[in-house]
Amino acid sequence: MSRRMRMWVLATGGLAVAVLLVAGYARLPHFGGAVHPYGERAVSAALARHTANVISSVNFDLRAFDTLGEETILFGAVLGTVVLLRQTRDEREVPPAPAEVAPPVRRYALIMLPVALLTGLYVVAHGQLSPGGGFQGGVVVATALHLLYIGADYRALEKIRPVGTYEVGDAAGEAAYLVLGVAGLLGGSAFLANTLLPYGTFNTLASGGTVPLLNAAVGMEVACAVVVLLARFLDQAVEIEEDNGSAMGKES
C-alpha cells in the first residue's frame, strides 16, 4: 500500500471514530446534572444490603461477576509474565552486589515501610465502608514492601519475599473468590449472589454479607499478584544476564 493510500485509510477510520464519538457524546446526560437513574438504584440496593461504600456494593455484590473477570485478567497477566520472564537456558543469574544507600533515603524508606503497609491493609479491610478496597489496598501493600529495595538493597528484599509463597497466595486469592461464588450458588440462590450471610449492622466492619469476604479475596490476590509481577521484572532488571558464550555464538 502506498503512503498516500495509507493516509486515506487512516483519515477514513479517524473520521468514522470522530462521528461515532460526537454522536455518542451528544446524547449523554449533561455534566453534573441532577438525574442519576443508575446511581439512585445502586445506592438503594447498597443500603438494602447494609454496605456503606456503594462502589464496593457495585463491585462485589451487584456486579460481582464482572469483578471476577477483572480479577482473572490480572491473574492471567501475571501468569503470562511469569512464563515470559523466566530464566531461560542462555541466561545466568548474577547475584547483585550490596548497594550503598544514602542515610536519609534509608531512614525515610524504613520509616515509611510500616506506615505504607498499615495504610494498605487498612484500605483493604475498610473496602466495604470507605473509598478503597481490595484492589487499591492490595497494590499499596505490594508496593510498600518494595520500599525495602529503596531503603536497603535487593538481597534484603529477596529475604522477606519468597516468590513461591506469593505465587500460591495469588492462586489462593483467585480460588477464594470462585469458592465464595460457588458457595452462593449452593447455599443461596445464584453464583456470587449475596444471600448467604447476614448483612450485619450498617457501617461496621462485618456488614455487607459476602462483600467484605470477596473484597479480602481480591486484596490478597492483587497484593500477591503485584509482588510476583514486580519480582519478575526486578529479577530481569537486577539479576538475570544473558550468557556471554551463547550470545557470542548467536552473533557469529
Binding site: G32, N53, I55, S56, V123, P131, G132, G133, F135, Q136, V139, V140, T143, H146, V226, L229, L230, F233, L234, Q236, A237, V238, E241, E242, N244, A247, M248, E251
Partner: protein, 86 residues
C-alpha cells in the same frame, strides 16, 4: 467553585499528558507518567470518584512508572553488554 476545581484539574491532566508524549527519554517519561497519574487522581477525586482516584494513584503513579523504569534498566543493561562484546 467545584467547576473551577474541575477545570484546573482537567488542564493539569491535559498538560501532564502532553508532556508525557513530548518527552522522548523513556526514563524521564516514566516520571512524567507518575505526575500524570497524580493529576488524574486529583481529577477523579474532584468529580467525586475517590475509589477510582485511589486506584489511579496506586497503579498510575507508582506501579506503572516502576515497571517502565525496570524495563528501561533491563534494556540498557543488555545494550551495554553487547557494546562490550564488539
Amino acid at each position: 467553585m467545584t467547576d473551577a476545581l474541575t477545570l484546573v484539574s482537567l488542564l493539569l491532566v491535559a498538560a501532564s499528558a502532553t508532556a508525557a508524549v513530548a518527552v522522548r527519554d523513556p526514563a524521564r517519561q516514566a516520571l512524567v507518567l507518575a505526575v500524570l497519574g497524580l493529576a488524574l487522581a486529583v481529577l477523579f477525586t474532584v468529580v467525586q470518584a475517590p475509589d477510582v482516584g485511589l486506584s489511579q494513584l496506586a497503579v498510575g503513579s507508582a506501579l506503572t512508572p516502576l515497571l517502565i523504569l525496570l524495563s528501561v534498566r533491563k534494556v540498557r543493561r543488555r545494550g551495554q553488554h553487547e557494546g562490550g562484546d564488539r
